[in-house]
């Protein structure tokens, strides 16, 4: 006996109920449960769909789908870092390396200005406000999408929300660090100025890649990661 379309939909709902929120992870588990239920029915054809489903789920152990979710998250973190690195590297090859150099020199000379730390704090603050607005917009889009299709891929959620951990919170930490450390940047020795400028340059590029470049290329990256992305979204 084969599972009907409705029963497959039931299984998707079942995985969601057990904390599997992303479509890519759900799909694999649904196919697994479906195969197992069909196998169970071969041996005991009179068993109800509900019972067969529960018997199959029990085989995942007391933690249910948790181990699978965790492993998938780890795998995707690795992939996200790989993508991040791919775009980050570009800023150190021609022609983009010129922008990187200009940025580095600008920060370096900017730090020499007296009271530059206050200007830096101001810039970070403005950035934070923009980030909060951006996050808010993104959440809204994701929420609307969730309401409509409920097919959100794990990498899609990472590109939109968690951003591999480099969100505005990281910027807030820098804000606090600069604010509390009371460093007078203009009085720093040259080697410290270079280190500070270099770190700031690298961070600027990283934020730009994560907040602008990767989201812009989201669809391309999702198609590359998920062979089923086109199939599901009818692209």
């Amino acid at each position: 006996m084969k599972l009907t379309k409705n029963q497959i939909d039931e299984l998707y709902k079942f995985t969601r109920k057990h904390y599997v929120y992303h479509y890519d992870v759900q799909s694999e588990l649904v196919d697994h449960l479906a195969n197992d239920i069909e196998k169970i029915w071969e041996q005991t054809p009179n068993l109800s769909f509900e019972d067969a489903k529960n018997n199959s789920f029990k085989k995942f152990g007391i933690f249910g789908f948790m181990d699978v979710i965790e492993a998938k998250q780890k795998q995707m973190n690795k992939r996200y870092k790989h993508i991040m690195w791919r775009f980050f590297k570009e800023w150190f090859t021609l022609p983009k390396v010129t922008t990187t150099l200009v940025l580095f020199l600008s920060i370096f000379f900017f730090l020499k200005i007296q009271f530059s730390e206050y200007i830096l704090l101001g810039t970070l603050f403005i950035f934070l406000i923009f980030d909060v607005i951006n996050q808010f917009k993104n959440r809204k889009i994701q929420k609307e999408k969730k309401g409509k299709t409920e097919k959100i891929f794990l990498l899609e959620a990472m590109i939109g929300n968690t951003k591999g951990g480099f969100t505005g919170i990281t910027a807030l930490n820098f804000f606090n660090f600069v604010n509390l450390s009371h460093i007078n940047f203009s009085a720093l020795e040259i080697h410290w100025s270079i280190i500070v400028s270099l770190t700031a340059t690298l961070l600027c590029i990283l934020f730009y890649v994560i907040h602008y470049i990767i989201p812009q290329k989201a669809e391309e990256l999702l198609i590359e990661t998920y062979p089923e992305y086109r199939l599901v979204n009818n692209l």
């Binding site: 196919d31 197992d36 085989k59 780890k74 795998q75 089923e228």
Partner: protein, 112 residues
Amino acid sequence: MSNQKLYKGSLQTIILKLLATHHKMYGYEITQKVKELTKGELQITEGALYPALHKLEADGLLDIEVVKVENRLRKYYKLTEIGTKETTDKLEEMQQFLKTMQHLVNPKFSLE
């Protein structure tokens, strides 16, 4: 069934070997194949299989292919080029391990 712990460390090698022989397989198929080949002696649990597959995929040893089968999506795993090489290495390691264990548990006595 009681010696499942002994097999635990070999799960990745088992998966790689199966994929080397069968070209492409999906999760459920792997569990069934192992059960069939070992006549039920080894049963890969679902909670261990998928994390292992996802790790191998993240390490670049496996590639995926998704096909619509009946009314659902099926994710097939197959070896990448690096995966094929790694399978050979892992199988060699396994042979070495078996040999060492053999020596340990069943030492040959000599008169010297």
